[in-house]
Symmetry: D2
């Protein structure tokens, strides 16, 4: 029983792995929970293998299939191109799609290099002038607790900001026998923990504070320098010992300290070697009037210390960010009935659709993505040069 | 792009309020994440108001609309009837649907009285003989952490069970001006906190322990005896003070202690007056070899104390139940990328569909629902008779 | 370098086991942290064995030794008798000491029977008329967090009380080979978990709420009915299998639900079989304006939910009860530098000395201890008679 | 009743403020809980003001008083000099005391400059040759949880170390009107948060890992550059606006990243501007086989993730470090009856006395203190030179 009272916007998605699956769930669900001005439809899915893409389309609910992204962006039923591929293809696809008059939602990090990101940002600026919009998919901005943190900082409830303490801790490659997947290869992934998860905490920190990182001093490390080739580990390669291992040419971990332009001190750590931490995107902000703390492993909670209360009754309070007054929460369930990882993408889809429908630029923009890219580049520059202070250009 | 390789089962759902919305999301999503032998289709939605039901069907993705459940169960494209109405209509609809050869998924509590539940259980038994199946929707069994708890108790990792400590704490009616909604009226809801949330902890306790409650001693209380009529509070009623308030004839809170048949002591508390607790379904089980603790407000965590470890290194450990080895988890996201409330229903839909497709009885059965109903009845009997010990019949 | 500017009060202590050791530390330390009007001196320690008592006195810092408590209470240098023996000797010593004009601090539970407790309470009343005071040592009242909870309830910050949820969970006898120590024998201990730790949560609940338990419905259980004799387990007994085990004639666990006179519902559980819980005295109070939660395993924290805040910013907050405004805290260290178990006794000593010096009755009184005893008796009566409702006399 | 069976060691303590008070409590209590080979006696307290020192000695239990530390170290009844003054006087007193044949326990940081620390370390080495010992008072090593962490790292339970993440967060000077106390003045304190609390996390990190910091890149900041003079804030100064404020010439916060010699990456942050964090000395260590996490605000807990367990059952476990098998714990109370801040000093006193009595060098040595001093110096050097990488000399 299709909704006949609303226009539709056709989505064309490139890639159907982890990101593609969760984006599909967002497109599939968003209209059921949010009263959108237009209804997104799952027009076509694009992947290199016809067979695999067809199977994925059936599972994920896409109406058609393409095997070349150039064909996808030519389709009349595609209004929005959703890019869920590794970073090395973002620039080419996004720029072409925008040029073709398609709105673009692009996974993060925006690109693998600053140059690519600049070109993308430039293309987005040109497209926006024609009412065609681009957004980079920093989904953690759409965790209700993170959006609430942003709201409160903006309202001045933390006062003058003094400290940002951000970590993104995972442990999926602690085992040295874990294979050399694409995320561990520079040509596809651009960098390692830095670009994959470090990008998220950079964006989250800048988003919540409403400030930007002015400069950094950094260290990176690759603890395990060789790993079994992904195919080898899957048993698809012969017995030649030499050919079985490849070099890890990205960072396993990146640490940096920095200054926010507004004067706060900041510390960042992104690692895939924090045994026992599964997806711990943590951030704490200390201000003159209060503090906020968040850990994605308990994503429905925001911890708030109100420093304007008397010492006798102040303390970090655990706010379940599931009340109707909280960002996004009214669309879902009663208080205390928490959300999960996927809902950050549903919120992203909602915000993107609303912006496009209203003809306003969605956020975070490619410009925001470029800024994160510049921080990533500054981190790599600093780490390569004895941690020297590096201004974010 | 429909899946042409799998048969379908048409769902007909009655009710589209809170439960209807979350069931819809489950039916909409389940096939994208689980490789089911048959594909559920959202055939028809049933509600009393044509207009409202049509709008809901559009929002929630149902293909057709009915305004009488009798018509719904007559539809050829409906193979499964999903009952999401208040408890007073469960028996009639479920019995008729089973008689009509439709599989039934029925929200909890199974019914408002033991007599109704008995009739339903009887009908389910008769239908099962013909390959028509019924299940009661105790969704919390499908929290991965709860399912893991069950698995470990079954494997003997807790040893002999000594204690069950279960609480379901909410706070949505602490304010005496909160209106007299249907959940606060005996004729529709059957009971108050007891049947609504007490039923969940009874089922969860019996599910995890694999044991049943033998007898109870109980207290119930209604703290706020009169409340504004729901319409009044919505501003739809005139100024007559007398007509504006109604009597709360259900319990606000129910406490009971009991014995499990296997010898463990158990304590239960269900309340809507625990200020600050939003949806805290908590359960702790202590055994001779270990303990488990769970709180739905942090639903991705299971706390496990292994008492067979040396004292020097034992302690409650926080297990993020998001690993591929954990129940249901492999279908979703990487470790640490948690699930939310709605996914318990997706898991329920998956298990129900798989059972029906395989021609085996799904669990929990109406028999299980009846047993919970008997515990609820025993609690009310005990509470009404000075807390005297009451054997669960 | 003795303080010559203050009078002294000589302490005579009976018993030097666990309680004697911690009381000694309190007497030794209290004057260094609190500016008391009189200085307690550690005059004499009393125990049955001359040799062991002498060694203990040396370790613990007592100036003299007695082997008969009758001699102790005759000493001129003893002004206060501190009773740290098992419950079976409390009544005799306390009554005699009060008759001899000595102030009495008596460990809990006040006695092993209501009759004894009544006699003690009577003796305390008579003594008070002559300016001789008695106090029962419910030390948990002197946890700063518990005292703060009491203060806030008294100030009305929780509004009307709805729920008391109290548990005292330990696990030291989970192993069935743990020996039959005196705490597991009725003639010395009076009861098991009930009197030992259940007494603490009864008192704590009544203290914080300022209310009393009106009636109860109870269950008790002895999970392990026979245990190695304590001597046997220590290797002091021969090889006769029969003689090696003794009957556990006290409860391992006690559960009860009840009503506070003011209308709140209450649930209590005391057990030594909660594997993994070491000394978890937990209490949560829910009121119409807020809630408080405490767990002794994190004794420096009080969790407070302010229900008068907007839903968007309310949540349980973790207050570190170490600020100068908090009860007792100014005497100690800077904020965040927590206290431990022993300090509850230092606070007890301080309050007792101050009351005695001021000529006012210390609290909790023997009357308070008697009331707890009556609750314990009601629990045992109810548990012995099918959990029937039993009014606390 | 003095112990006549053991020799005594007389303590002479310099300073009676915060550190002096807690050291006094340690000396007063240590013999009651630990069976020491010699008994420390509280021989004499030294302070500048005769009157105040006499009052403090009475309160804290010291037998005599001196007003010049040179007189103190000349006393025959003083065998150990315990230095509890600000850092600017450590070197002079410690060196003189060691030269006079007195054992020395010196508060941290060892000194205000590397040069002083070198001289002290040299003096300690010379004294040790004559059986006279020196120790620096990094008390947090004696938190049972920290000592347990060290034990497990030493036993290899964490495998190869990858990350050290250490923070010491306080908030006592967030208010810009907090006065300019001595800890905020370079001439007395040497540095700000860095030397006061940063020194602790440096030592704790090196202690637990058994490794040393090889080099650092650092940032420091003084957020509030002027503060009321301490006397002014106390109302002792006139109305001249100019004279009322003084310059804060130490850091408010210090951040640095570094590498451990063994290859782990490390990040450190010391701040007095983390609103809501009272005394949060936190450290997390990630290794190839497991992780440990600690926060002093919950000092009785150590969190351990055993990465050798299957993913399905691994998770951070909360170990209450109060079991008899745990460091120091057997001397105190039953499991779950936690310790407080002061007990770290009691443990320090115990270890120091035992080492001195046994004629072995106590730990941490002045050499250890010097190494911490060198890290502090490297941090200041790096921070002053654009965060450039600075090798710890």
């Amino acid at each position: 029983m299709p909704r006949d009272d609303k226009p539709t916007l056709g989505i064309g998605m490139v890639g159907y792995a982890f990101m593609g699956r969760v984006h599909s769930q967002a497109w599939r669900s968003v209209s059921a929970f949010f009263d959108l001005p237009v209804t997104p439809t799952m027009a076509a899915l694009c992947g290199r293998s016809k067979e695999r893409t067809t199977a994925a389309a059936a599972d994920l609910g896409w109406a058609a299939v393409e095997t070349d992204w150039r064909d996808l962006i030519r389709r009349d039923d595609v209004d929005i191109v959703d890019i869920c591929t590794p970073g090395d293809s973002h620039a080419e696809i996004a720029i072409a799609a925008l040029a073709a008059g398609k709105h673009v939602l692009c996974e993060k990090p925006l690109a693998n290099t600053v140059a690519e990101a600049e070109a993308m940002s430039e293309a987005a600026r040109a497209a926006a002038a024609k009412g065609v919009y681009a957004m980079v998919a920093f989904n953690y901005r759409r965790v209700p607790a993170v959006a609430l943190a942003r709201r409160w900082v903006e309202e001045g409830r933390l006062g003058e900001l003094r400290h940002v303490r951000a970590q993104y801790l995972q442990d999926w490659i602690v085992d040295p026998e874990f294979p050399l997947v694409w995320r561990l290869q520079r040509d596809q992934a651009g960098s390692g923990a830095l670009g994959d998860i470090g990008a998220h905490i950079i964006d989250t920190a800048e988003f919540i504070t409403g400030d930007v990182i002015a400069g950094v001093s950094a260290l990176t490390e690759t603890f395990v320098k060789e790993r079994p080739l992904a195919e080898a580990s899957a048993g698809l390669v012969g017995d030649s010992r030499t050919s079985e291992r490849g070099t890890v040419d990205v960072d396993d971990a990146a640490l940096f300290i920095g200054r926010m332009r507004g004067g706060a001190l900041a510390s960042f750590e992104a690692t895939r070697f924090a045994a026992g931490r599964k997806n711990s995107l943590r951030i704490e902000i200390n201000g003159s009037k209060g503090s906020l703390a968040f850990d994605f492993e308990a994503m429905n909670e925001l911890w708030f210390h109100d420093h304007t209360l008397s010492g006798a009754e102040a303390g970090f309070r655990r706010i379940l960010v599931t009340e109707p007054e909280h960002p996004y929460a009214a669309a879902w369930w009663p208080p205390g009935h928490g959300l999960g990882y996927e809902h950050t993408f549903t919120h992203e889809a909602k915000d993107f659709i609303e912006a496009v429908a209203a003809g306003v630029a969605p956020s975070p923009s490619f410009e925001d993505g470029l800024r994160v890219q510049r921080v990533l580049a500054a981190v790599e520059t600093s780490a390569a040069d004895e941690s020297r202070w590096t201004v974010v250009s």
